[in-house]
Amino acid sequence: MISGYLITILIIIVIYAMLAHSLNIITGHAGQISLGHAAFFGIGAYTSAMLYTEAGFPFWISIPLAAVVAGIVGALLGIPCLRVRDDFLAITTMGINFVVEAIFLYIPFFGGAMGIGGINLPKWFGREMTKPEYFILILVVFFFLLLLDRRMGHSWIGLAWASIREDEQAAGAMGVDVVRFKVLAFILGSAIAGLAGGFYAHFLTFIMPQNFGFGQSIVVLSMVVFGGIGTRWGPIVGAIILGILPEVSRPIMEYRTLIYGVLLLGMMRFQPGGLLGSGSILSRTLQRLSITYGSKGESR
């Protein structure tokens, strides 16, 4: 059996991977920089937690509703975000994050600084789920989300997003409905972040506003760019590496955040596409390997 410590880290990493994946839809696929993604993570977590503790909804209903509410808020906030572009958008999303955190913190309805407690792991077959079972549940959900992402990447939606990302004006001139596809990216990304938030709340059993602050948004964005922005597997690799980093660097606790900052800085300075981005050392090596392997196959 795997230890409780290991399974805890695994669950947190899958939740982060899901969160990084959702941000990748907005920032990587559709090219809209968001510095406030933790806000939607928080909205999902609070929705699910309050439905569960206040309204008495079971986990299986509160989790999808967390995604729906986060998606709706994402659409509502995505519409004003359409009025601003590039750097203005980055700062606006950052502002949204600060305001959402302030709302959680200062409105007593949301539990204030004390947060919300008493959220439990889901029940099934008349008993509470064990941690490994919960891990597998999240993993399965994440797997379906990745399949969906693959389907969309090959569809008109994926092409439309790519065209907006590369050149918004040209895309508009070619007849791509820029507004519709941007809002779609915001809705989808926010909804998946909300879903991850719901899973997070039920796992931690206790949430507070600080869990969803601007720092958290930066952590998620770091995972995306570290692994390779816009690639399918990059954000997941980023979530795994940056998720494990705090655990393996426990012996050098004092320098942990310093290493994190320097790693981020060095990565962007020397490998700006991220680990799996096109032109990075790792992806070039992989490509060379696959060519070697491919030519062997031909000669056989």
Binding site: I91, G95, F98, V99, A102, L221, V225, L265, R269
Partner: protein, 285 residues
Amino acid sequence: MLWQQLANGIAIGSVYALISLGLTMVYGILRILHVAHAGIYALGAYVGLLSFRLVGNFWLSLVVGMAGAAVAGYVVERFLYTPLLHLPRIAPLIVSIGLFTAMEEAFRIVAGPHTLAYNARVGLGDLSIGGFHLTETQILILFVTFAVLIFLWAFLTKTRTGLAMRACAQDPETTSSFGVNVSRIIAINFLIGSAMAGAAGVLIGVYDNQVWPTMGSIPAYKALAIVVLGGLGNIPGTVLASIVVGLAETFFIGVLAIPFPRDAVAFVAMILVLMFKPYGLLGKA
């Protein structure tokens, strides 16, 4: 009471202006969101404090703090930003965030996690007229900000280098084709902007009588909100936005006692203004 709050608001707004001006100047030329600017601000405070402890003269420590910040800004520009200019905007932004995180940690490791007192006396004395009271450090802040603004205005409008800098902000390529050394202009831009951040760091250190590792955290993001509120890259807009935010914070929290976090006021103001003017208060499309 009202006049008192007005004075407090303007004093805070002046410090915001000192920090934000460097940020908006950097954005005006390089189009980079320079989050680590607040790290430079904290560095200025630390360097100033160190020199104050060694020599004991406030004015000297202000100059040394500004110089230290300017050098740090120059190094960041040369070795981190310039090589990344051809990449999508997100790359320098992430570098800047990483650098800022690393700087805060470096301050904590080198100078310790505690707040350090910056107990400088200038010898101006407080000013009291009736119920209206200005502390010595408030007078100092207003004086230094005013002097810096005059210098900046004179530099940008009366010198050839200032003219070249304004031209660079419009179009670096065309400016370069007229024989202007653009990379030198960018360096000067960073030196001046960072020196202003260093001055702000020293002033806040003296105003609060403390210097601490994460003193840049809140200014880092608040200054970005202010810069956007004023219209990214717009210098008069930035000064206006700084004063507006300083006053709004003082009035909403201090006078009306609304239970709202002080540091979110700038963001609420920014979002509201952007809804009606997507390029900020004085920005142009």
